[in-house]
């Protein structure tokens, strides 16, 4: 596909990287020549210097021939404007990043008039992810499939866990649970495990399961954290706003510590039920005055990554039982962060890039079996894909024992008539199913691609 990306900030660059890896032909438009040069040097993309809302610049980027324009600049207005102009100039689809909460309600009203295919709000997406994490405090990471019926979660096996030295096929026999472990991280290595794989303490497992089964699993491995009631959020940005709104609706108590007085007043007006504290979250006097030790969850969501990491480490030290979540904006050293006691890490730029990537794949995907969503489980190495089977296909009705599925690819879950189960050899995919596939292969966009292409059925 021909894709134009306007603006290459943090999210834009991440996105371009991902799209380039999927072999799309990409044109990047930005006003900053230095950034363009950097991207041009590291990635196989074309760079155009100029304003994304300028028609002549868009023409230079051959907008009339492009399948998708993604506007990712800092300004919502420029994003909307360049999408509108691009659409007039012949772009087939447009995606704009619109993050200002003030536009949140209005954007759906004008989406069609602007010819906008998708408006993405990175902060809202990040807030949703965090609120999912808070529902399963034991998990490191939580994502949803099948409209929230199936969750994909990460869990670190602690010392002395019943899972230690357990073979994966013993999960069913010993623990009587049907969770489906689809990836295991051990140190720097990532495995897509078979039934004989032996789990060790310290492993980070990723598994797919319906919500009930997941709860049951956490109970059986002794990882039932008490339900989260008191949440302390450090930093009062947009993510905090969206998140707090969500949390208050589900009856949690939220305390926000924000350093800027004016922002505090704004938040207090927007979120009358939250307690807003005007203070510096890096000041431990403030944290203790506000009884951080009584919190069930501490979220470091300020705009400064280093601060977030430090505050999370401190919070973990002070309240070892609390759920800690750390937001990382740019910081690229995932390996460094992995060893740190900073709880779950949330990367808004990845969340946004994933969201758009999912859309791009669904777009290019043939129409008989459309992909609903995509999640990356272990950084970029393992992906989980959700397909909804809408059309007849040669793959339907064939039992899994007879299907020749690619190496490193598994069918994790099938949702049929509202019930979710893990398929065995005798099961088959039917019309109307929602299927979740876990794979180490990149670029899968059709269900048929899970088959080994050389051997056929």
């Amino acid at each position: 596909m021909n894709i134009i990306v306007v603006g290459c900030g943090k999210v834009g660059t991440t996105l371009v990287k991902e799209l380039a890896a999927e072999k799309h032909s990409i044109v990047v438009i930005d006003t900053d020549p230095e950034k363009l040069e950097e991207i041009g040097n590291t990635l196989d993309v074309m760079c155009v210097e100029g304003h994304g809302e300028s028609a002549s610049v868009l023409r230079e980027a051959e907008v009339d021939d492009c399948d998708l324009l993604i506007a990712m600049t800092r300004s919502d207005e420029i994003n909307l404007l360049s999408c509108l102009i691009a659409k007039k100039l012949g772009a087939k689809n447009t995606i704009a990043r619109v993050r200002n909460p003030i536009y949140a309600d209005g954007i759906n009203l004008i989406k069609d008039d602007l010819g906008l295919s998708l408006a993405i709000n990175p902060e809202l997406a990040a807030a949703n992810e965090i609120s999912r994490l808070l529902r399963f405090p034991s998990a490191i990471q939580v994502e949803t499939f099948a409209k929230g019926r199936v969750e994909i979660m990460k869990y670190a096996i602690p010392e002395g866990s019943v899972l230690d030295e357990l073979r994966i096929h013993q999960l069913r026999t010993h623990l009587k649970t049907t969770v489906f472990i689809c990836a295991v991280e051990r140190g720097d290595e990532v495995f897509v495990p078979t039934g004989d794989f032996i789990l060790r303490e310290g492993d980070i497992i990723s598994f797919v399961a319906p919500i009930k089964v997941a709860n049951d699993f956490f109970a059986k491995v002794g990882a039932v954290a008490s339900k989260i009631k008191n949440v302390v959020i450090l930093g009062g940005g947009r993510i905090t706003y969206y998140l707090t709104k969500k949390l208050l609706e589900s009856g949690l108590r939220v305390k926000i510590i924000e350093i800027d007085k004016e922002r505090c007043e704004e938040l207090s007006e927007l979120l009358p039920d939250a307690m807003i504290i005007n203070g510096d979250g890096t000041n431990n006097h403030v944290l203790h005055e506000e009884r951080i030790e009584n919190a069930d969850a501490v979220l470091s969501l300020t705009g400064v990554d280093e601060q977030n990491v430090l505050m999370s480490i401190y919070a973990h030290q002070q309240v070892p039982d609390a759920k800690i979540i750390t937001k990382i904006k740019h910081f690229d050293f995932d390996d460094v962060l992995r060893g740190m006691p900073i709880g779950s890490v949330v990367y808004p730029k990845h969340i946004t890039a994933d969201y758009i990537l999912r859309y791009v794949r669904v777009m290019q995907n043939s129409w008989e079996a459309s992909m609903e969503s995509l999640h990356r489980i272990v950084d970029d190495r393992v992906e989980a894909l959700e397909f909804r089977i809408r059309q007849q296909s040669e793959i339907l009705g064939v039992t899994f024992a007879d299907l020749n599925i690619r190496k490193g690819t598994l069918v994790a879950c099938i949702t049929r008539n509202g019930e979710t189960f893990t398929p065995g050899g005798k099961d088959s995919i039917q019309l109307g199913d929602t299927v979740i596939v876990v794979t180490t292969h990149k670029g899968i966009s059709r269900l048929e691609q899970i088959l080994d292409s050389e051997m056929g059925i």
């Binding site: 007043e265 007006e269 009358p272 307690m275 807003i276 504290i277 203070g279 403030v286």
Partner: protein, 479 residues
């Protein structure tokens, strides 16, 4: 101070008075009463002074805050004096201060009276007395705004000064349109009540005057027993309408527009409902032994609570004879008063609500010294200026209250009488307890006390500040 503009606006008030007095004149014609002739010289006087005033051409037509406040305060004083003249000329109330007391009590919708025997008054005077309630309920300048295109641009100053509540806002883009809409609702509800009363076989004259008294939440009855002599149906209708008139009129606007969710979310209305219901329950439980049965007690308790919290002051029974607990609740209700933007008096529910919220904010900062909290009412932020304004209002209120009680106590009545008499006049309720209870009246107070009451009533109706501004020397300076 732009005197010319203030005089011009007061010219409209005189003209309005002249027109308003035609109605009791008509009543006098119907009943063939000689007392009706008392209105004639007053109407002529109003026209003679009012028309030249209207013809004044002020250089600056802009109405600023101080002119707005002063105009309203002066207008209410003039109205009280002019309105008193017919009583005086007809000799039905011989003492002139008493006449002014009765008229001020009418216009400010207080309903306190110096008459020992109301039934002695002629029909046209009774009608005029009740009609002053109806005029004063919504406000005279509001009426002028609704019909006359006033000079200058922003008439909101007048509306703010005359409408009750901490924060007066337009419900329609133009001040004139807002005034018209509010009067529309006001007239509509009044007519509705008259119809309901007529269904209950109430005589037309009684129905109209009772409806006027209820609409303005005033409380002048035309019988010595107030509403006590009528049947239970009529008392019920009056109960319901007293409550209806003490609700913010914006609610009816939302009702017509079908915005039920906003009504449900209105915190002032909720608090008002909670206060009314709990008060009725507690009082009923406290006094039901005095009545024939639980429902009779409930009926009279509901009527009295509605009458006091709406600051009407009608009565069906003498609540002065009730137990102390019931009486105490009633006195507290006098202070709370009706909702902002209604025709009722008192401190207003929304002020109490904001005060309580700012108090809880203060408590929270004791525990969390760094916490930041804006005060929200019905999902809208109340800015700190409004909170400050309300604090000043409360302080002022307490000072005026204390000063009045001290002055009244010179007459030598009981403490209960003095405090409730001031509470009843400053909150525009009408009857208090003891000597000024529903069965009593204000006739025996000294001239000084009566003047204090008159000032209290006007202060209460205009919510203190417009009256206080008249006493500030700065107001009268040129710069």
């Amino acid at each position: 101070m732009n005197f010319k503009l203030v005089f011009k606006l007061n010219g409209y008030i005189l003209l309005f008075d002249a027109i308003a007095m035609l109605l009791p004149g008509l009543v006098a014609l119907c009943y063939q009463e000689r007392a009706g002739f008392a209105f004639l010289p007053v109407i002529l006087l109003c026209l003679a002074v009012g028309i030249p005033l209207i013809c004044l051409r002020p250089k600056n037509k802009e109405l600023y805050a101080r002119e707005g406040l002063a105009t309203v305060a002066i207008a209410w004083v003039i109205m009280s004096i002019i309105g008193a003249l017919p009583f005086f000329f007809s000799r039905e109330i011989p003492n002139f201060v008493d006449c002014i007391f009765e008229t001020a009590s009418g216009f400010t919708t207080t309903g306190a009276t110096i008459l020992r025997d109301v039934e002695k008054l002629s029909h046209c005077m009774l009608f005029w007395r009740s009609f002053t309630h109806w005029i004063g309920g919504m406000g005279v300048l509001m009426f002028v705004m609704a019909i006359a295109p006033l000079a200058g641009g922003n008439n909101m100053q007048l509306m703010r000064a005359e409408s009750p509540g901490p924060k007066v806002e337009k419900i329609l883009p133009k001040a004139g349109m807002t005034a018209k809409a509010l009067y529309g609702i006001y007239i509509g509800l009044t007519v509705l009540q008259i119809v309901f009363l007529l269904i209950g076989r109430m005589p037309l004259f009684d129905a109209v005057t009772t409806a006027f008294g209820t609409a303005g939440t005033g409380g002048f009855g035309i019988r010595n027993t107030s509403i006590g002599g009528y049947g239970e149906y009529i008392q019920g209708v009056v109960t319901v309408f007293m409550l209806l008139f003490s609700v913010n009129f914006t609610i009816y606007f939302l009702l017509i527009a079908g915005k039920f969710k906003s009504i449900w979310k209105n915190e002032e209305l909720r608090m008002f409902a909670v206060v009314v219901i709990t008060s009725i329950l507690f009082i009923t439980l406290n006094n039901f032994k005095l009545f024939g049965g639980f429902f009779e007690a409930l009926h009279h308790s509901a009527f009295t609570v509605a009458s006091i919290i709406s600051t009407s002051g009608f009565s069906t029974v003498d609540f002065n004879l009730w137990p102390a607990f019931s009486k105490t609740i009633l006195v507290l209700l006098m202070f709370i008063g009706a909702c902002a933007g209604s025709t009722g008096g008192g401190i207003k529910v929304s002020r109490i609500l904001i005060l309580l919220k700012s108090l809880s904010r203060e408590f929270m900062t004791l525990i969390h010294p760094r916490s930041v909290k804006t005060i929200n009412v019905s999902g809208k932020k109340v800015d700190d200026d409004t909170v400050k304004h309300i604090n000043a209002f409360m302080m002022c209120y307490v000072l005026i209250f204390a000063a009045s009680v001290i002055l009244i106590s010179l007459d030598g009545y009981s403490f209960e009488t003095n405090v409730t008499a001031v509470a009843a006049t400053l909150n525009n309720v009408g009857p208090g307890l003891d000597v000024v209870g529903p069965a009593g009246n204000f006739a025996d107070f000294s001239i000084l006390s009566k003047i204090v009451f008159i000032i209290n009533m006007i202060c209460g109706r205009l919510e203190l500040f417009p009256v206080i501004i008249l006493f500030l020397p700065q107001t009268w300076k040129k710069n």
